[in-house]
């Protein structure tokens, strides 16, 4: 059954790639250009026209459940650490795909979405079926400020998802040791943090060193096709969070309808514990030193 679904999706994507893309919404927000493009059954959110790394969020109009994007599937690997997150914080909304999927998977969990650009929130609601209810909330705020205010209110989250980077620009204050420390404090006792990042060349080392400085060794899953990677850390460090293989079976049945192969993901997870692929003396990014975008373009 799973194979057929996969094949069907593949065929659909293939078929749609021959169809001419049609821009159905185009607007210049305070922060970027926002484009909504229809290509047959596939609808995508884009933040810039010319760059190749700009597709923020895509979904199939006929099968909104299916996760089209590889990185959203990769993010699901985090559930291996904690299969029942009760309070979830998503920084960076995009089309709202992640929030929608998690709201279906965990209808009783509380999800807070934080997005800096009001135009993105509007587009997610109008064109991507992003839904909100008493459990799913959206805040138009800078991610760092949201976390600082949440700390003051003594809130905590079981799962924090950082998805505020796109291939073209990194908000540098969301990639410093101080910020990660704040995010770590916001985690519940066995809380976890997943970060979807695009670091290339020099930034790869600096980003890794910064995460390691705050969380110790971490897990990561890479996408073979581009520079995309998911960094997965937990409040208690790696040693206390060895993946319970029972979780794989538990999650498998639930995630298959979303086109996520959790067993495959489990095999692809790499720990930095015995796999550190950046120089030991790499400078950690701080609020005082955070030239992330300059480092990423070198």
């Amino acid at each position: 059954m799973f194979k057929y679904v996969k094949l069907l999706t593949l065929l659909l994507i293939l078929a749609t790639s021959f169809v001419q893309a049609k821009v159905i919404h185009n607007e210049r927000s305070l922060y970027r250009n926002i484009l909504v493009e229809d290509k047959g059954d596939l609808r995508c959110l884009k933040f810039n026209v010319k760059s190749t790394k700009t597709q923020q969020s895509c979904y199939l109009k006929s099968q909104p459940q299916q996760l089209v994007f590889n990185y959203t599937k990769l993010l699901m690997a985090s559930l291996l650490l904690n299969p029942e997150p009760k309070r979830i914080l998503i920084i960076g909304l995009g089309g709202g795909t992640m929030s929608n999927t998690l709201a279906q998977l965990y209808p009783n969990s509380h999800i807070d979405n934080v997005e800096i650009d009001p135009a993105v929130i509007k587009v997610a609601r109008e064109y991507f079926g992003f839904f909100e209810n008493e459990n799913v909330k959206t805040y138009n705020q800078d991610g760092r400020i949201f976390i600082k205010r949440a700390l003051l209110k003594k809130q905590s989250y079981d799962w924090v998802i950082l998805d505020a980077f796109n291939g073209d620009y990194i908000p540098e204050h969301l990639l410093t040791k101080e910020f990660l420390q704040e995010a770590k404090t916001l985690l519940s006792d066995n809380g976890m943090l997943s970060s979807n990042t695009f670091s290339l060349s020099e930034l790869y080392a600096h980003e890794s060193a910064t995460y390691q400085a705050v969380f110790g060794d971490f897990l990561q899953i890479r996408n073979s096709t581009n520079s995309n990677r998911i960094i997965l850390v937990s409040k208690n460090g790696l040693s206390n969070t060895t993946i319970d293989t029972k979780n794989i079976a538990r999650l498998d049945a639930r995630l298959t309808p979303y086109n996520v192969n959790i067993e495959q993901l489990h095999q692809n997870i790499v720990s930095t514990e015995n796999n550190q692929n950046w120089p030991q003396n790499t400078r950690v990014l701080t609020d005082q030193f955070s030239p992330a975008n300059l480092l990423n373009s070198k």
Binding site: D142, G143, I145, K148, E172, H173
Partner: protein
């Protein structure tokens, strides 16, 4: 004598260049200093640019006024030294100050405006005073006043352009923000003290000459 005054004019232009360089370097760093507490939304830059423009405008007014009271190279140098001292709190107390503002002001627009005010208003007013004061020191006849003012704005704004590009392209990639600001302070203070020193030598030299 004309050659000597030429040298002192070049020195004044150099100082004006440095002040333009530092102003924009600091303005650019302002965004990074505020980001951890007030985010990187568009209104952060709104706050910073507003405060810099406001304080420069007041600085021009005050500097012009001050230049009518026995203008001298040593007062000019003193303004540099004071500017350097008033910049120091940015490196020393900004965390504490921004935290206090963050806790009291919920709206990050007014929070960032207040924080920019607290951190950048006084030093930028003082740096702004230097422009009209430089014109006063350089102008010797009303005929050339426009040309001198034009040259001075050319030099100091060129300094601003360079301060912006050097800080954003290179300095932030090499150094901590505090190290960069501290270097600006040191540079301004040293040039200011040099101006005071040169003025002293000139005066003692002049008085020696008059004795002969």
């Amino acid at each position: 004598m004309t050659k000597k005054s030429n040298y002192s004019n070049i020195f004044i232009y150099l100082l004006a260049f440095t002040s333009g360089f530092s102003i924009m370097g600091i303005e650019l760093l302002g965004g990074r200093i505020l980001a951890p507490f007030f985010g990187s939304s568009v209104h952060i830059w709104g706050s910073i640019i507003t405060v810099f423009m406001l304080s420069l405008s007041l600085g021009y007014l005050l500097g012009g006024k001050l230049s009518t009271r026995s203008p001298s190279l040593s007062t000019y140098g003193l303004i540099f030294v004071v500017a350097a001292i008033t910049l120091l709190p940015i490196t020393l107390f900004s965390q504490w100050l921004m935290e206090a503002i963050f806790l009291t002001v919920e709206d990050s627009r007014y929070g960032s405006l207040l924080a920019s005010m607290a951190l950048f208003f006084i030093p930028t007013v003082i740096l702004g005073m230097l422009s009209p004061y430089s014109v006063r020191l350089l102008v010797t006849s009303s005929n050339e006043s426009g040309q001198v003012a034009g040259k001075l704005y050319f030099v100091s704004t060129l300094g601003s352009a360079l301060g912006t590009i050097v800080t954003s392209f290179y300095l932030i990639m090499w150094f901590d923000i505090n190290v960069i600001i501290f270097s600006f302070c040191t540079l301004l203070a040293c040039l200011g003290l040099l101006a005071i020193f040169i003025n002293k030598i000139k005066h003692s030299h002049a008085s020696e000459l008059s004795h002969v």
